[in-house]
Each structure stands twice: as C-alpha cells, then as structure tokens.
C-alpha cells in the first residue's frame, strides 16, 4: 500500500485529510509540524506528502527544502495544502520543489484531482 504523510498543525485538518487520502487507497501517517515530518521521513520515506505552510517549530517551506536535500528526499510527491493563496507563495513553493499546490479550503474532489494530476491515482 502506498503511504501518504499529512503534515498540519491542526488536528481537525489532519483528520479531514486522513479520511480523504484513505478513501484514495493510501495508508495515512500524520505529523504536527515540519520537524516531526522530517524525523518521520528519515525513518520511512512516504510516497506522498500533504503539506501545510504555517506551522510551529519548522514551517512547510523549510521542511520541503530540507526534505529535498535528504537522501531519497526527491522520491515523495509533495502537495502543498495551505491558506497561503498568493501567486507569489505558489511560485516560491514550486521553486522549492513542490509538485502540486492546493489552496484551502479544499475538499475530496480537489485532492483527488490533484493526486491524478501528479500521477498518484
């Protein structure tokens, strides 16, 4: 089974995202900030990552840059999932190595469409 790591400091959002990615056939793991996510990736690199931007300790963008520098860190498909909805944020994320970008609020249909876009489903 493919795995998806959901990184968000809101437990409610993680729960919603978990439901969606599980319905798409992924095993779901969770992390509450970028540092936690990086620790988990070092132990087990997921196939996909849904990534919030603003989080305590280490934000999503810092995490992404660190992840892509890891051995094997190019492997996960990273989809930003954030309320940062400015074009400038989007281009910044893409330059840092994001594969897709979801502007909150999102729903199952948008996540599924984005997963299809990057070839995950």
């Amino acid at each position: 089974m493919k795995t998806c790591l959901v990184v968000d400091d809101s437990r409610v959002i993680r729960k919603v995202a978990r439901k969606i990615v599980e319905s798409l056939g992924f095993a779901c793991e969770e992390a509450g900030d970028g540092q936690e996510a990086l620790d988990q990736c070092r132990k087990h690199m997921p196939d996909a990552i849904l990534l919030d931007w603003n989080m305590p300790v280490m934000n999503g963008l810092e995490f992404l840059v660190a992840l892509r520098a890891e051995e094997n860190g190019k492997k996960p498909v990273v989809i930003f999932c954030t309320t940062e909805n400015d074009m400038s944020n989007i281009t910044q994320a893409l330059r840092a190595g994001a594969d897709e970008y979801v502007m909150k609020p999102f729903d199952g249909e948008i996540i599924e469409s984005k997963f299809a876009e990057v070839g995950l489903v």
């Binding site: 249909e109 469409s113 876009e117």
Partner: protein, 273 residues
C-alpha cells in the same frame, strides 16, 4: 408541483427550444431550477411561470430552457480527450493543414473551461495555431466565459498548478485567464438545434456532455449535421457517456481512441496508411 398537463407543456416546450428531455421523474429538477427564475421574474410559483409560458411568452420560455440546462464543466474534464488531442489529433493536423490555422469548434462550451483547456494545449504546443469558436445556448455562461474569471474552487478542478501559474492572473479571490488565451477563443450564442452553416467546415469539433440530455432522434440529427461541418480529415470528440454508434453512419469511432470519431473515408485512409 406542476399538474400533469402543465408538466407536459413545459417538457415539450423545452425540448423544442434546447433538445433537453424532461421525463416525468424530473419534477424535482424542474422545481429546483425554475424556482429561482420564477422569483427573479416576479412569479409567485413555478406554476405561475409556466402559466405565463403557456400564454405564449417566448422570451420567458427561452429563459426557462436556459435555466433548466446543466452547466457542469471543469478544466481538462476527463483528461483523455485532451491527451488524444495533443497526441493523436494535433500531429495529423500539422501534416494536413500546410501552415493554415486549424479551425476548432467547441459546441456547448458552458463557462469556457473546455475551449480554454484546448487553448492552453495549443499554446504549449509548437507548430500548430488555431482559431477556436465556442458556442452555447445560454447567455449567462457565455458572459462568464468571455470574462475568463474563475473561482479558486474552479481553478483547482482538473488544472495542474503549473498551468495555473502560467496561464492565469490572480485578482483577489478570483483568477483571470490570460489575455493571450482569451484572444484565441471566440464565444458566440449557438443552439445545436439550429443551422450550422455559418460556422463553416471544422478540423475538430468538441461536443461533449450535452447530447446525453437529448432523445435518440435529436442526437441522430445533430450528429449527422456535425459530420457535415467536418473537413474530410476532421475529428469529432464526444463525452465519455456518448457515442455515434447506432445513431449515424456519417461518423465512425476511431479504433483504440475513446471518445474520438471521424468520417468513414478518413478512417479508410488511416487504415491504409
């Protein structure tokens, strides 16, 4: 709820105007789509609105037909047709057009996502220019299409983020399609039940997710007339739930290409090659 005879009048009137079939099971759909119209037109109920239609108010009937249509659409809907366009159709067009611009017609384009998806593909593709005409029965969706303004929700359905960055400008919460793409598409009112002569011969026709709402007779007639608008080498693309099989002999499915249809003589050529 409408009485049986009023419902029958409404469904016949609508079918005449747009082709839409309203079976007796569509009572709920009629209420939910005509109630807002009844309200804005100042009628106390859908029934009162239909009464006025029965008195011969043609303008009101036309607005009712528009209100009853389904406008659901999104960018790169169903993906396959757009892959087929880029991988199968475009290479053929490049060899037969000899530098001429391709003529593409999106019949029943709704709020413009379909023609704009094609415009994006064309812009990303070197060596093929096209004029796209996009038509729909309904004025309000065409206005939206011409403005090229889409909500955050709409630009996240079917659209890769790179394409959003490349082809849209952000204005607050909404996203406007680039002037370059807007220039590639001409939007016009057009009814599939009316004469196609003014459109001329097309290299490609997209007519997706509209014939499903029509009865067999209407489907067959429209498909025959669409075939007539195609260049000998032309292609027709239908929606995933639509086909020409059993409806017309003027078009045949292109083997191995889902949703793609061509004139029989063109298929003979493909086979021979």
């Amino acid at each position: 709820m409408l009485t049986e005879s009023k419902f029958r009048f409404l469904s016949e009137d609508v079918k005449k105007r747009s082709g839409l079939m309203l079976g007796p099971e569509k009572g709920y759909l009629v209420e939910s789509r005509l109630s807002p119209l009844a309200r804005t037109e100042g009628f106390a109920s859908v029934e009162a609105l239909v009464d006025q239609m029965m008195r011969g108010d043609a303008a009101l009937s036309a607005r009712a037909a528009e209100a009853l249509a389904t406008h659901e659409t999104f960018f790169f809907r169903d993906r396959t047709p757009f892959d087929v366009f880029a991988e199968t159709i475009a290479p053929v067009l490049k060899t037969v057009l000899h530098g001429r611009k391709a003529k593409i017609w999106c019949a029943a384009c709704s709020s413009g996502q379909e023609p704009y998806s094609l415009a994006m593909l064309l812009e990303e593709m070197p060596g093929l220019d096209a004029d796209i005409v996009a038509t729909d029965l309904c004025n309000s969706v065409l206005e939206k299409a011409r403005a090229g303004l889409y909500s955050q929700f709409e630009v996240q359905r079917g659209l890769a983020i790179q394409r959003l960055v490349k082809h849209f400008e952000q204005t607050g919460d909404t996203w406007r399609i680039s002037p370059r793409l807007r220039q590639m598409v001409r939007f016009e009112v057009g009814n599939l039940l009316e004469d196609f002569g003014k459109y001329g011969k097309q290299d490609v026709i997209f007519c997706r997710n509209v014939l499903i709402y029509f009865d067999i007779e209407a489907k067959a007639k429209i498909l025959d007339r669409l075939a007539n608008q195609l260049q000998p080498h032309g292609y027709l693309i239908l929606g995933a739930a639509e086909t020409v099989v059993g409806l017309t002999e003027a078009l045949k499915p292109v083997p191995g290409q889902r949703g793609l249809y061509a004139r029989p003589e063109a298929l003979e050529k493909i086979k021979a090659a």
